[in-house]
Amino acid sequence: MSTIEASPEVGHDDHGHDHDHDHPAFLAHHFDTPEQQFDSGKLGIWLFLVTEVLFFSGMFCAYAIFRALRPEVFEGCSQFLNTKLGAINTGVLLFSSLTMAWAVRCSQLEQHKGLVGTLAATLSCAMIFLGVKSIEYSHKWGMGLLPAGLFAYDPSNPHPTDHPNYLMYICIPFAIALAGVLLWLVVSAGLGNKMHVAMAMPLTVVCLCFFVGVGLGMVLESGDETAEHIDVHADPNGLASAPVMLEAEKAAAAEAAPAIAASGAMVSVDESVLEILAGDASNTGVTSGLNALEQQNAAAGTSTITGDEAVVGAITTTEIDVMTPTTAGVFFSIYYCMTGIHAIHILAGIGVLVWLLVRAVRLDFNRQYFGPVDYVGLYWHLVDLIWIYLFPLLYLIR
């Protein structure tokens, strides 16, 4: 409580009056006014955001250097990232930014129900984002598309089945969280603790949203590349249909570029490339891969494919070269580093948003004291801002 009053005319009243006027409970004793407290906190959070920007700039710098040195590696490896999932995640994150900005507005206008609702919506979007991300990650780990040093992608066997069920391991912590929150909800409902019910109910929805995101990711992944999806997620009846799907996609790929079919002299490597591209990339990827083969056949009658570094520079001629551990591994190192640290920031954001949600249910915020909501909002928008740059730089390289 206040021991020194800054404004002399108020002086030392008894403490009860302090509460009413100059030092409400939310105002720290070293601040004169709520506005001063708010401005100080705001300056602090902006400075923190500056350190975050500089922190991420190191990774963007690494990205720039490697892309400048070997652009074809980025173009080739980017085909393995699912643009659809990235775009959906961008939309989800933008929407969460909207609800976060709305939450700040609600806290400023003392709309307590709206505040809880918008915070819960923001949290749900964050969980959906992580759910989709877990599909992306587990899918790539299953294919051996790992950072340099662990990279084990084999073009002739792109979908090995002998890997652990990565998706399950990612889901376990979230399932435990869901169970815990559900338990909290049931117990507090049983005890009739209305406030705890009001906290646990939105959090249950939030935890469920992770699995909504996982489902969304599965649907989108399978819509794009059915065969892989089945392999990765070990669908029991999917194993039988996987070869069929591959055949169908191969047929479609062959249709897309009839000139290739005529060029003949296809060795087994070419078929595997067809498989890879049909399985992993969009139609443009398939087409460019086929073009690469055509050019290769035209250039050298033999179609041996080695780790030849003296590439012409065109994207299409290097589709195969880039998938070596030393080159592709570097791309995936950068990919995992940037998106992984971004995901850690999402997790941290989830943590502070849960704290805000609990405080919002306790009606802690008012028009004089909405700083925490505003600060977390700024942090959340920065995380969104970084994704705005990450998405095109990683997913949309052609």
Binding site: T33, E35, D39, V50, S57, R70, L94, A101, T324, G377
Partner: protein, 134 residues
Amino acid sequence: MSAHAHSEDDHGSEGHDFAHPMSVQTLLAVFFALTFLTVITVAQASFDFGAFEVATVMFIATIKAVLVMAFFMHMIADKPFNAIIFIGSFVFVGLFVIFTLGDSMMTSGSFEPVVEELAPAVAEPMEVKVDGAP
């Protein structure tokens, strides 16, 4: 940060707002603009702009970033000092990236270790670190 820019701050402690709530219309408009720009970014990836591709993508992303900063992060209603600090950080990011990139272009031909590998899947990958910069 005790200098108050607003005329109503005399009433600041008496329940008058120092907050500047964004109107719902503004928030929704910004959101739809951002979504629209995302659709454009995805759509442009199917056209070939050649060397301008990165520039196009970065330009659209920067428009989006400015929208987020100005409206979602309340920069237009915030104290200018905060904006100066934040925008100033990007100047240093620019310096950092440009100098490091220029240096790496002059010194290192490739970031990869020299490995004779005719069978790529078998070759032991070296410890490839982010060591393009000297």
